[in-house]
């Protein structure tokens, strides 16, 4: 890192405040000790279902697979009291198939990753073209990746300008900005990147941990850093930004721990799918399994549920 870079990082850290690494790890370790039972657990599981962005992001995705995903998103379970999920999350090429499967104005929203997901390494006009195409095809939400190369080089204005260009390209679509925390390396960087993103996006837009395509994904630790950034930004400006951890959340137990983090950091106002989402493919099945366990009192076998989105 040359002198210019480190100076620009130092300025940004001074501005947004540093992160107490040890404090964060200690704080999140406490979240795993909360005891949620019976009615509270059931409420948490159902709420988590409504927050799922049911995701399939694979090279082998087909329109048929996306249609199955959409069917599952609308009616996750035989049990009609289980609510639909928040959204399906697909590649731009599959947005049309998803819109066909869900119909116009469906309760389940369509999110599409765009901007040369997951690396973001394409010319800006290509990335913006992808966003416009996805929105034109019927995407309600766009998940973009930030330019990590520019961020790590200290070119914060470039990062912000690109996000602003995507905001403009989105039109009415909700924007989720993926920081890709595993490539930002430190909690200080995650907090700084969160602020850069939040200052550019609109209220109701989201910041998101990761693409799910790298080794390290959402953890309670980086989730906490981002939640605290959202809280500080809200107290400073009054603008409420949403949060989406993605990747690595596979069990209902983990999901409940993330919800505990939301409740204890941001409060009940964020316990809604307008402000908190889970990007996940196999999480939904485990949530359904635990809901069924609460209903019947018997532990369930995984094969009693329709296939997880990842195994179509």
């Amino acid at each position: 890192m040359n002198a210019g870079q480190s100076a620009s990082f130092r300025r940004l850290f001074d501005e947004v405040g540093p992160v107490d690494c040890v404090g964060v790890e200690e704080r999140v370790a406490k979240y795993t000790t909360r005891s949620l039972k019976k009615a509270a657990k059931l409420w948490g599981l159902r709420t988590a279902v409504t927050m799922v962005d049911l995701t399939t992001l694979e090279g082998k995705d087909t329109p048929g697979k996306v249609a199955s995903l959409c069917a599952k998103a609308r009616h996750p379970s035989d049990d009609p009291t289980v609510p639909p999920v928040a959204a399906v999350c697909v590649y731009p090429a599959m947005v049309r198939a998803a819109r066909r499967a869900l119909g116009p104005g469906a309760a389940v929203r369509i999110a599409s990753v765009a901007t040369a997901f997951p690396s973001g390494q394409a010319p800006l006009r290509t990335r913006l073209g992808e966003v416009r195409a996805a929105v034109a095809d019927g995407a309600d939400e766009i998940d973009m990746v930030i330019n990590r190369g520019a961020f790590l080089a200290g070119e914060f204005a470039e990062v912000a300008d690109e996000i602003a260009a995507v905001v403009a390209a989105c039109g009415d679509a909700t924007l989720k900005v993926i920081l890709e925390v595993s490539e930002l390396e430190t909690f200080d960087n995650i907090r700084a990147a969160s602020f850069i993103a939040m200052r550019t996006i609109r209220g109701g837009d989201f910041i998101k941990t990761s693409t799910g395509k790298t080794s390290l994904n959402a953890t309670l630790g980086n989730n906490q850093v981002m939640l605290e950034a959202i809280r500080d930004f809200y107290l400073e400006t009054g603008t409420a930004i949403g949060m989406k951890p993605a990747g690595g959340i596979r069990t209902a137990k983990q999901a409940l721990q993330f919800l505990v983090a939301v409740k204890e950091t941001l409060g009940d106002a964020w316990l809604t799918n307008a402000r908190y989402r889970f990007g996940a493919s196999s999480l939904l099945n485990d949530l359904l399994r635990q809901i069924e366990k609460e209903r019947t009192g018997a532990y369930q076998a995984p094969y009693y549920f329709s296939e997880a989105a990842e195994s179509y």
Binding site: T296, G297, A298, P302
Partner: protein, 288 residues
């Protein structure tokens, strides 16, 4: 020089690791004379659930091993028991068995493993079949393992009875979650240490210790267990049979009231393997 005693903390063998109960609860185990011996993990239904997850993970890999390899591994387990026969006999003697009786039980347990090791690549020839059909087809019946078998062992013959229930189930490629005797759990603790060194993949045999009344209802209702082999009293048999019917699992229930001779030849056999396999019949066209 005086030396502080180094006593072993008993832990149960689940998923290839030695664990305490997730509840951190233990119960004291006393020897026949009433002296405190050790604290044994008091496993809960959550431990049972976790053990079933471990068994599920190990299942496909174990079932995919060749029959010959499963036989080799069972034989190796027998070797491990033989080498530490004295330790196992001491564990059995905690419950008051005489030296001779304990040694006899260990010998019988080793022999039982060797017996099923021999069956591993032979039961298919006995249980499977080529069926005569009135059309140009080969018609085969072959066996497949059921999946995860829940086992509840009795108090008498704490090692031999446990192994007599576990061995036939794993011979055919099932994985098991077994509750050891509540009164005499220590032989199962020692057995776990031998399982860990026997080439048996982690999660194929999962041993729990604890109280029957806490765990029997969960064994009965857990939908991921495909079958049960349990020595149980009348009330437990009712619970198990009702739960098994609800979750559509096979239940092989032994009456706990009547004494069972686990040393007898009738306590082993291919019938015990057959109890935990599914039969699949395949029609295959005969070529020209």
């Amino acid at each position: 020089m005086s030396r502080l005693p180094i006593t072993k903390t008993p832990k149960v063998y689940v998923g290839g690791a030695f664990i305490r109960s997730e509840s951190a609860r233990v119960f004291p185990l006393r020897d026949a004379a009433g002296n405190f011996f050790a604290n044994i993990p008091q496993c809960t239904r959550k431990d049972l659930r976790n053990a079933v997850e471990a068994a599920a993970k190990a299942g496909p890999g174990w079932a995919k091993r060749t029959a010959y390899n499963r036989g080799q591994i069972l034989y190796r387990l027998g070797e491990m028991l033989e080498a530490r026969a004295g330790e196992l006999a001491d564990a059995i003697r905690l419950g008051g068995a005489s030296k001779g009786a304990a040694a006899r039980e260990v010998t019988a347990a080793v022999d039982r493993l060797i017996y099923y090791a021999g069956w591993a690549d032979k039961y298919e020839q006995v249980l499977g079949n080529v069926n005569p059909v009135a059309a140009p087809y080969f018609n085969f019946t072959v066996t497949e393992p059921m999946g995860i078998v829940g086992i509840i062992a009795p108090d008498e013959a704490p090692l031999l009875a446990l192994l007599s229930l576990v061995a036939p189930a794993i011979t055919s490629g099932n994985t098991v979650v077994a509750l050891a005797s509540s009164a005499q759990p220590y032989p199962a603790i020692v057995l776990g240490e031998m399982l860990a060194t026997s080439d048996l993949p982690g999660g194929v045999v999962n041993l729990l210790t604890g109280f029957r009344k806490e765990l029997v209802p969960t064994f009965a209702t857990h939908a991921h267990l495909r079958a049960l082999a349990a020595v149980a009293n009348a009330a437990e048999r009712k619970t198990l049979a009702l739960g098994a019917a609800d979750s559509v699992k096979r239940a092989r229930l032994f009456k706990g009231e009547a004494p069972i001779d686990w040393f007898a030849d009738t306590a082993q056999g291919v019938h015990a393997i057959r109890d935990f396999v599914e039969f699949k019949t395949v029609w295959h066209p005969i070529g020209a």
